[in-house]
Amino acid sequence: MNEIIGIIIAAVLSWANFVLIDTWMGLPEKPGVKGADVIGRGVKKRGGDLSGGFFQGNIVCSPDASAGTILGAISCYTIGIPAGGFIAALLVFIGNRLCADPGYAGTSGALSIMVIIALASFIGIPPEQFIVGMLLAIVTIQGIDHPRASRLLGKIAKRMGRYTELT
């Protein structure tokens, strides 16, 4: 498969993987640590959505499914499947506990991206394209337009019943 198309497909799959798992695990609901609160309110002040801002702040302050996805892709590329996915899940879990987070989002992100990469290898998308794809996916959330990205995340949070009750 053409490399550019592979990277785009991998980016879409990684985006879906980490946004859905993180929203389900409650990242938009409340800031996990005080730093995420600061970042969330900063995004709201610039015209964004508070729930989406908490999501973005939680990504910065603790390894979550986005970290699990990229580290899972890195481990599957360098170590192989399934050992890479399991090692990534364990190390992301340790990192989560060091950052005062229970660890559910990171480990599930790593394990689910391992399954997705294993299936995608049958249609010709190798794991290294998932590494770059995940990087592009995280840049769309954290690196282009924070208020607009937070509004999109807020809409997804509302749809999945995880919108924040704080103001």
């Binding site: 800031p31 640590v33 192989g80 879990f93 005062a100 660890g103 559910y104 290898s121």
Partner: protein
């Protein structure tokens, strides 16, 4: 092919998880964390123990020691680690995490 599996490795992973679960029951770890699950720090059989079992087995298999016996021993070790050692090396955060004035 990047997927490195043969029947012995798959069996060893499954046995590692099973022995971790069995030893977890023996040392009386709770089965599920308390609700709402996504915010709970409880160490249970489903959550860190399985992840630790799979991760440690993957590390051990990649370092070269393979086989069913190694998988079972790693599973037993991970259940014991998650019961006795995990609280000490990765303690639950105690300070308040939001709402500071």
């Amino acid at each position: 092919m990047i997927i490195h599996v043969n029947i012995v490795t798959v069996l060893s992973y499954i046995l590692a998880v099973l022995s971790a679960i069995i030893v977890g029951f023996i040392v009386k770890l709770p089965l599920l964390p308390e609700r709402p699950i996504r915010y709970s720090f409880t160490i249970s059989i489903i959550f860190p123990t399985t992840v630790i079992a799979l991760g440690l087995s993957a590390m051990v298999f990649e370092l070269g020691w393979g086989g069913i016996m190694v998988g079972v021993i790693t599973g037993i070790l991970s259940a014991l680690i998650s019961k006795y050692l995990l609280e000490k090396i990765l303690p639950e955060p105690t300070e308040p995490v939001e709402g500071e004035s």
